[in-house]
Symmetry: C2
Subunit: 315 residues, 2 copies
């Protein structure tokens, strides 16, 4: 569906064989191709994460953003996408990509506006191995599929316009972005200038310092307060699975079924944490980055909502 | 099914016409009538509440208790029951009882051990009006249905034993019970001595003072720590409905459908708060009791998990 995007490396260098397989198709069955509201700009929300497993909080974030956008902005939400990370990410407790896609897909079935894009999980390098897709490239992929291939969204005036593509993430993302050296400045600029981010804040989290570092992008970052607190995380679900504790009503029922099938993967505690190579660059895994960030800043919260661009980390 | 219990007033005085209608049957389709584990005593958990609407936290409490009991006690859980309060309770935002029963029933369908008992909602006084059932009487009803009508639970040794009936509730319950004058001492004694209570604690809630007041019942009160915090409450859901905010992923999907049908009821903000008469006693509503308790003690948490015995309040 998108050979020129999918076969483009993060640096924009074409690559003949890498990318998603020919069987990959971009899902848009729930994408609102015709706007309902006049004088509103179309927007599509994308959440990048492990979803290992998906929790009610992952899904709740989309609903919070939907409400926020409806009441506080001039955007009309046309769709929300979950984009599960590649198996190349090699995070502890990461279930195989196709199972994570199934879990997410079955969990969002009742939703009228949420979809799962398997793009990251099916992406392969030239050797046919799973290849990590940096966040900036994921957003470019959505931009290409929706605004180039599909031609954008038709307004109430009959004119087609490009949908804004925005990242939806937890507060940790913006905190990591405000930390010098953790993100590639080029990718950060792509994500926050060309696209934009909706951040779900949590009480007790101080993101002001991070926002002050990123003030050049302030008009493209929206912070949403989490009115109803919920401390569920994929990590806690994996811990509960390992301890043989109930996970019911913490995550959607279809995800529970998959979790029990995948218990061995999901409750895996130890996996070699190692730097690994992506796109000919040596990079640290997100886990390493997070550990380093914590050590340096003494901050201990995490949301697992997003993955950072893997670049050599200057620490 | 249980005419002698159902036609018994809270004081134990027989009444010819009050009670549930003849069509009422006690649900026990998921009750484990044969124990699986040897050397464990059978137990049944009962949660009394408004469930207007039911939330994931109501359901999660049962799972927390199930885990706790399995790992920390010599009981084997044979069933969990939700017992929605009578319409006579007249709480603000209380949807009609039959709708609350439908909401709860559809929400617990996938569960292998949870059931909904409509007993409280169908209970009528001599005039055929909804009649409030005090918590002590609700527990007696379960005791009668399970241990007298059904004859108890058969152990792995083939011997039938009486199941322990225990109340499952949030921390507010125990705090209100520790407050002098809020509960009838007789009912308190029935609930905590003859039956027992499993209390879901929340971080930031100090229930030690309440427990010290109730130390004579300490062997019959189990406090369960809520490892994964979740601030959802029926009150917040009703507020979200009123403000036209999304409630998806806060409450089960079947409950959402009913909520939208009942939006007028559930988002009702004002209803005359008044003392009303029950069983020939003048009593304050739970709302009034809570307001008074807050004013006196400066405590502001609430969980809506249980209803108190409505007796004249000495304040």
């Amino acid at each position: 569906m998108s050979p020129d995007v999918s076969s483009t490396s993060p640096q924009g260098t074409p690559s003949a064989t890498s990318g998603p397989p020919p069987t990959y198709t971009f899902p848009y069955n729930k994408l609102k191709l015709l706007q309902i509201e006049p004088n509103k700009a179309p927007i599509v929300l994308v959440s990048c994460g492990s979803f290992s497993p998906i929790t009610f909080l992952h899904l709740r974030m989309f609903e919070m953003a939907l409400d926020y956008i409806r009441f506080n902005t001039d955007f009309e939400v046309c769709a929300g996408y979950l984009s599960p990370v590649s198996d190349a990410y090699k995070k502890v407790g990461l279930a195989p990509g196709h199972h994570r896609v199934v879990m997410c897909s079955r969990s969002i079935e009742p939703s009228s506006w949420l979809m799962v894009d398997p793009f990251e999980t099916v992406n392969r390098n030239e050797k046919g191995e799973p290849e990590y897709v940096p966040t900036a490239k994921v957003l470019r992929h959505f931009d290409y599929e929706i605004n180039t291939v599909l031609g954008g969204i038709e307004g109430t005036d009959g004119i087609k316009r490009k949908a804004k593509i925005a990242l939806l993430a937890g507060a940790d993302l913006i905190m990591s972005m405000g930390e010098p050296g953790l993100w590639s400045p080029i990718d950060l600029d792509v994500i926050l200038r060309s696209f934009g981010a909706f951040i779900i804040e949590r009480s007790g989290t101080d993101i002001d310092e991070a926002l002050s570092t990123l003030r050049q992008y302030k008009d493209n970052i929206w912070v949403i307060n989490q009115v109803i607190q919920n401390d569920i995380s994929s990590t806690k679900v994996r811990l509960f699975l390992k301890k043989d504790l109930s996970i019911r009503y913490l995550i959607p029922d279809p995800a529970i079924e998959v979790c029990y099938l995948l218990k061995a993967f999901l409750s895996k505690e130890t996996l070699t944490r190692r730097a690994y190579s992506i796109s000919n660059n040596t990079a640290y895994s997100r886990k390493d980055q997070r550990t380093r960030l914590k050590t340096r800043k003494g901050y201990s919260r995490k949301t697992h909502q997003t993955h950072q661009t893997l670049r050599p980390v200057r620490l």
